[in-house]
């Protein structure tokens, strides 16, 4: 009285992870690291757009959504940067080259790389929020002529917490990219900005009437960043934010990521701010 099916492994079921090999483990800061992954199946490649995320599974431990932080032009090399905040990400820190990790994705909406063409671009990152923005930066640098002035505003806790510091140093020395970094707590050697990243918005060189802003960080930081951008005259319809919610499936079926009618995993995580402004302002929605 039952029909049986032999399920081929991973056969087009979006809930079944594909095995990837850890190629490199990169310690970024004291509590962040990056993983470079390659698929078991050499013909497979994971084409993604800047801003999208994957579900990463550690054997026997669990699965978490992590944004993709590598270069979309190199889909064979999958890069994720994460902070150790829970059981799964702590287990991820213990992974070494040659270890297997499960990958499902890519999921979600992307940064508005098309809509930003021909305009100035301001990237505002808070802490680990720089990771989901890095693919956007790679994209812009590969297609530099498509965009106007490009500014990266990045705020983090202390000079030791600066993510991708070598790359940032390189980008700072480029003439086609403005990089501003600020820290909450300075050390004696720090000669840069001190204070919240939103303060940088006021003095960054861009044309507010002709700018697309991409903001990623803690919700409270994004709220103030949007306020500052709006104060400078950037319409909220030109501001994009990336939302974070609990996610168990990535495909809009588990319910966990709901923000009123939004399934942040598939309708987001990147939203045009004016589309979710009322939801953003309501507490505990």
């Amino acid at each position: 009285m039952a029909t049986s099916i032999e399920r081929a492994v991973g056969a087009a079921d979006p809930m079944v992870p594909a095995p990837y090999v850890v190629e490199r483990f990169i310690r970024e800061t004291q509590d962040t690291f990056s993983l470079e992954l390659e698929p078991f199946d050499p013909s497979a490649e994971l084409r993604f757009l800047p801003g999208q995320f994957n579900m990463l599974y550690v054997f026997g431990v669990g699965e978490v959504p992590i944004s993709i932080s590598g270069d979309a032009a190199e889909p064979k090399k999958l890069v994720h940067t994460t902070r150790e905040v829970g059981v799964v990400t702590r287990a991820m820190r213990g992974l070494k080259p040659g270890h297997t990790i499960g990958v499902r994705g890519p999921f979600g909406t992307s940064w508005p790389m098309e809509a930003a063409k021909g305009h100035d671009v301001v990237l505002v990152a808070g802490g680990i929020g720089l990771a989901p923005l890095r693919p956007a930066l790679y994209w812009i640098l590969r297609n530099r002529d498509d965009y106007g002035k490009v500014v990266l505003l990045y705020g983090t806790r202390s000079p030791e917490d600066i993510l991708y510091s070598k790359e940032l140093a390189k980008w700072r020395s480029q003439f086609d990219l403005e990089v501003y970094i600020t820290v909450d707590r300075a050390t004696s050697e720090w000669r840069g900005n001190v204070g919240v990243v939103t303060k940088l918005v006021g003095r960054a060189p861009f044309d507010p009437a002709d700018t697309v802003a991409m903001v990623c960080g803690p919700e409270i930081m994004m709220r103030f960043a949007v306020e500052e951008l709006a104060r400078r005259g950037v319409p909220t319809s030109d501001i994009y934010v990336s939302m974070e919610r609990n996610m168990k499936c990535g495909i809009g079926l588990c319910g966990h990521c709901q923000l009123r009618g939004e399934f942040v995993c598939k309708d987001g995580p990147v939203y045009r701010f004016d589309a979710i402004e009322p939801l953003f302002m309501e507490r505990e929605l």
């Binding site: 099916i5 919610r245 499936c249 079926l253 588990c254 966990h256 009123r260 309501e282 505990e284």
Partner: protein, 383 residues
């Protein structure tokens, strides 16, 4: 029987022949599930003959209370819905998603055999049929489908039975989801007629339904049969315990996001999640990882979840919906408002389970009216 049956026909099967219908369905290869008496309630179980059905029972349902009682007649379907809903069969509480095996630093996924039972859902109430249609849209209507649900749905045969004994918490009539079946997706729809000779008016909804009835002694339904069935439905509508006005529910609830009344509900709500477990449309799930003791095998299981738990909305740093008021607000707003944005219908079918099985008897119809009145007052004051 000279006349050949076709889809859309209405025939009469006598009560004495109900077992023949069950046998015919079983002969088609289905395992029959339906209402049974168990644990002091009407719960779903396996039906081998009509004797397994709750003959001569009725239920008394109201906010926070449920009792079974004997009836004075031998009605086979003289009760409303119990705590179980059919999602137990179509969308089981536990499902293994995959299994994997470790080899040194690597692991690989194991091939899996999945069984899709051929179930006949016998005695589905119209509100429950409406709930199945809602879950169809949720689990099969989007860009990603739940493959297990789709297989189970395809493999099942559905026999709807109209309600003639609505419960005190029922409000399907006001939502247009009952007490008589008016939608699609079923194979047979029965109306139990108690007046006169105890019989069932049977509507044929599909080829499978046709096949099931063909081998059962039946006769054409007369105008008198149909009239008796219709009268019973009218009576059921009149005796329905509650009502809810769905018009403008979305706007009212969106406008009520900051209403202090949510806090008042939270004073009563135990955030136990019972409402989500008994709700026939709630579809939220969690995943669980398990490993064998020696760590060589791992598997991932999907389990029903509830938006009332703190873990549900947890992201590093804390739960998004930490306050109980926010969790109740999310659930109720989802059922009656945001569900419409997501899936084009209400997420509520008026079955009343959340009212009955709430340990403190929170009543979604009453709360809806309070929010509606508050929004009305606010608009009045703004004038």
């Amino acid at each position: 029987m000279a006349k050949t049956l076709k889809i859309g026909d209405r025939v009469v099967v006598d009560r004495e022949r109900l077992n023949d219908l069950l046998s015919s369905i079983r002969a088609m290869g289905y395992e029959i599930h339906g209402p049974t008496v168990g644990d002091g309630a009407i719960i779903l179980g396996r039906i081998d003959s009509d004797a397994d059905l709750p003959i001569g029972w009725r239920d008394r349902q109201d906010a926070g209370t449920y009792r079974l009682e004997r009836r004075e007649d031998e009605a086979v379907f003289g009760y409303a819905v119990g705590p179980h809903s059919w999602k137990r069969l179509l969308f089981p509480p536990h499902r293994t998603l995959w299994q994997a095996e470790r080899e040194g630093a690597r692991f690989h996924l194991l091939p899996m055999r999945e069984d899709t039972p051929r179930c006949a859902l016998f005695g589905v109430r119209p509100c429950e049929m409406a709930a199945i249609r809602v879950q169809d849209r949720v689990l099969m209507g989007g860009p990603y489908r739940d493959p297990d649900y789709a297989r189970r749905r395809e493999a099942c045969l559905i026999v709807v039975v109209d309600c003639h004994e609505p419960g005190g918490a029922c409000f399907c009539a006001s939502l247009g989801t009952g007490p008589t079946e008016a939608g699609e997706g079923w194979d047979l729809a029965l109306t139990e007629v108690l007046q006169g000779h105890h019989r069932f008016v049977v509507r044929i909804g599909s080829v499978r339904g046709l096949e099931a009835v063909r081998e059962v002694p039946w006769r054409d339904a007369t105008p008198a049969d149909l009239d008796a069935a219709a009268k019973q439905t009218e009576r059921a509508v009149r005796r329905m315990g509650r009502k809810m006005d769905p018009v403008g529910a979305k706007e009212v609830l969106y406008d009520s996001a900051s209403d202090p009344h949510w806090e008042e509900i939270a004073q009563r709500c135990l955030v136990c999640g019972n409402c989500t477990m008994v709700c026939p449309t709630c579809f939220c799930v969690n995943v669980r990882d398990a490993t064998s003791l020696d760590g060589s095998r791992a598997e991932r299981e999907r389990v029903w979840d509830s938006c009332f738990s703190l873990e549900y909305s947890y992201i590093h740093g804390g739960s998004v919906r930490f306050s109980p008021y926010a969790r109740y607000r999310h659930w109720m707003t989802h059922k009656l408002a945001s569900w419409q944005d997501q899936f084009g219908s209400l997420g509520c079918v008026g079955c009343g389970r959340c009212i009955v099985w709430c340990p403190v008897g929170i009543d979604i119809t009453e709360e809806m009216e309070t929010f509606r009145a508050n929004v009305g007052r606010k608009k009045e004051a703004a004038r």
